[in-house]
Amino acid sequence: MKPISSRSGISVKKKRGFYKNELYGILFALPAILGLLIFTLGPMLYSLYMSFTDYSGSNSPDFIGLGNYKRMFSGEDQYFYKSLGVTLYFVALSVPTGIIYSFLLAILLNRDIKGKAIFRTVFYLPSIVPIIAISFIWLWLLNPDLGLANELLRSLGLPGSQWIFGEKSVVPSLALMNLWTTGGTMIIFLAGLQDIPRSLYEALEIDGGSKLDKLWNITIPMMTPTIFFNLIMGIINGFQVFSQAYVMTSGGPNNASLFYVFYLYREAFQFSRMGSASAIAWVLFVIIMLLTFVVFKSSKKWVYYEGDGAR
């Protein structure tokens, strides 16, 4: 294969060679492209169609136009706005805290300290534990009567919390739990930090800058592309939070943790309204798309790419 293609690349005219290469490229990418078309795009379009039908999962779908969407936006389905609010609250809490926490952690773990490898492993470890297992661990940690969290607060003389059993405290509790699983984000930050040229810091040292100056004027600006990436991923993952509600709270108390995807799940598999569940899924798709678009737009203002300045 290889000698032939390289020979033809030389002997054949440039233009034809280009097409041939393109053909090979597409051929090689075909498994992925077909996979996307058949297993992702196909079901997606099908669910788009379903979202315009009354479909219980076992009947033949009846086309009802925008009925499902109307039901959601008109407030006839009382859970739509509630779950959207709960989810936005969770995203607003968990994304910034997650990014700040893992960023600070990455800075600490980027220093030359003894046992660096061990610390890195320890902080990364929770993110390879399945979320279901994590949920069970935290169910015990956050138990108001026997849990470690309240025990700790009590030993400090502070009042305990109801954690996931309080209507007001359940989402913050889950956001706190989310911090524990940000090991992946931390690793990306760590890689980003190691890409920052030493020379920049050295230059700043010569100019007499402090450690804070280094952070503010070099580290953070140089890290903005990484922060940007993690922000997008964080938002997307935040909107799709599900397992915690499924395992720990069942959406309670009083629907205070009725996350959007849990609401979708309930609509589909408890209330047997697949059509409406498809509509819910598509609204989520559009929300995430719009938010991602907004963040992308805003990125021009605050994300710094090395080399851009030289244009």
Partner: protein, 475 residues
């Protein structure tokens, strides 16, 4: 600048791909569905094809069910017994865990691979409305060996008048269970076992107080009692509808009002009962709140480990209790006015797509006959056929108090008290129950936690479920 637009394009592609990938799991939940209605038979046709049960033609039935390992084994044994009796029939049984059941079943239906018959929960009513399953009343008309009146009065899953997805295949009931040792230690009389002698509410609260201990051994009425450090609770309510509804009914309330037009739980008789249960938690401190209950294990273990002295929960816990090494017993439920309770259970449905509805019918009859799954009826289930509550011989075969799963007092406290005071259970009586219950459960969260009165919370729920209140099926 050129470089910049290139990057922007790349970003856009990245954006599209990420969004596409990560949302795919959210939107791909529907099953590919094909038209399944209008199969072999029309809307109300009884099966008229399929060979006679004992003829030579080989018949294979597909049967989907759920259940604990013990239930699975008992059902599989019953299948073997049925196959031995009907040589021409083989049954392919598919055990599906309860949480995935509907999802799997829907996929099978959509792929034209629907089973011949299946266990089923409340979703069966929709399948009935959509014409996917046989009307039980049509099937029973064809069979002289059994009639509608043989079953318990309210043991029906109907989707319309005269359209039924079947009677319970077996029943369970709300039940009060206790650890007798704790009563002895506190020198308290055991719960009554006869419905006429049931505790009124004050007696019940008094008893529960005597059985509640904080870490220093004090009772709720003692000076210095610490409600934050309770070691042993007098009673634990499961806080689901199957546990609070008997008390609501006992006070003259019900899920919907008598005419089925209004949300009954918001009426004073009902909210009073609900408030009494909440008061057990927040006023009398004899019962754990949902928060405290989170650190209390399942009923059998909770009784065994002396976390609670009494439990009001489903009778399906009897099985675990009989296996735990514990001196346990059963009593009648406490009442506010009259004694009321109900049976609950699932039913077997037969799909219209079945090629052998006759054999499926025979098998469903076989499996719902307690005789053929007697082992399960001696500790986990209760029969759904009246005869088994009337004929002393039959009673003795499943409710003999010498059986390990049937403690002393069982026949009075569980069997007769329910049989003689049975009302319809809201689950198979109230239309749109699953959705109304979701709203009620959320509203009651606040009542159990003491942040709202039952009256206020149920008034709010009433407004939310207004459109869902559409009457009842049975009464």
């Amino acid at each position: 600048m050129k470089k910049h637009t290139g990057r922007a394009k790349l970003m856009l592609v990245f954006l599209m791909i990420t969004v596409l990938f990560v949302t795919a799991c959210g939107s791909g939940n529907t099953n590919a569905g094909t038209n399944n209605t209008g199969n072999t038979a029309g809307e109300s046709d009884a099966p008229n094809e399929g060979a006679d049960v004992n003829s030579g033609e080989k018949v294979k039935l597909k049967f989907t069910f759920w259940g604990s390992p013990q239930e699975k084994k008992a059902v599989e044994d019953a299948i073997k017994a049925f196959e031995a009796k009907n040589q021409n029939v083989t049954i392919e049984s598919i055990h599906i865990p309860g949480t995935d059941f509907l999802q799997k079943l829907n996929a099978m239906i959509a792929g034209n691979e629907a089973p011949d018959l299946s266990y089923s929960a409340a979703w069966k009513l929709k399948m009935g409305e959509e014409g996917l399953i046989y009307n039980f009343f049509d099937l029973i008309k064809e069979d002289p060996s059994i009639k509608k009146e043989d079953y318990l009065q309210y043991a029906w899953w109907n989707w319309d008048t005269d359209k039924s997805a079947g009677p319970y295949q077996a029943s369970v009931v709300p039940s009060l269970m206790y650890n007798a040792d704790l009563f002895k230690e506190a020198d308290v009389e055991l719960p009554p076992t006869k419905a006429e002698e049931a505790w009124n509410w004050d007696e019940f609260v008094e008893t529960a107080k005597k059985l509640t201990l904080d870490r220093s051994g004090k009772h709720p009425d003692d000076p210095g009692f610490d409600p934050k450090n309770i070691k042993q609770y007098g009673v634990k309510f499961s806080l689901s509808w199957s546990s609070y509804m008997p008390l609501v009914m006992s006070n003259g309330g019900d899920y919907l009002t008598e005419d089925g037009k209004e949300f009954g739980l918001a009426k004073p008789e009902s909210t009073e009962a609900l408030q009494r249960i909440a008061d057990l938690i927040n006023v009398h401190h004899v019962s754990p709140s949902p928060v405290q209950a989170s650190s209390i294990p399942a009923p059998a273990t909770a009784l065994q480990s002396r976390k609670v002295a009494m439990v009001i929960d489903g009778s399906w816990n009897h099985l675990d209790l009989s296996k735990a090494n514990i001196n346990w017993g059963v009593g009648v439920l406490p009442v506010l006015k009259d004694y009321k309770s109900f049976f609950l259970g699932g039913s077997l449905i037969i799909f219209k797509s079945s090629k052998h509805p006759k054999e499926a019918w025979e098998f469903s009859k076989f499996l719902t006959d307690p005789q053929n799954v007697l082992e399960l009826h001696q500790g986990l289930w209760m029969p759904q056929l009246k005869e088994w509550y009337e004929d002393p011989k039959l009673i003795d075969s499943w409710a003999n108090e010498e059986l390990p799963g049937r403690p002393a007092g069982f026949q009075d406290a569980v069997m007769r008290s329910t049989y003689e005071h049975a009302e319809p259970s809201p689950e198979n009586n109230v239309k749109n129950f699953v959705e109304i219950d979701a709203a009620v459960t959320a509203g009651l969260d606040q009542v159990w936690l003491g942040t709202k009165t039952a009256e206020a919370a149920m008034k709010e729920v009433e407004a939310k479920v207004k459109a869902l209140v559409q009457g009842t099926y049975l009464k």
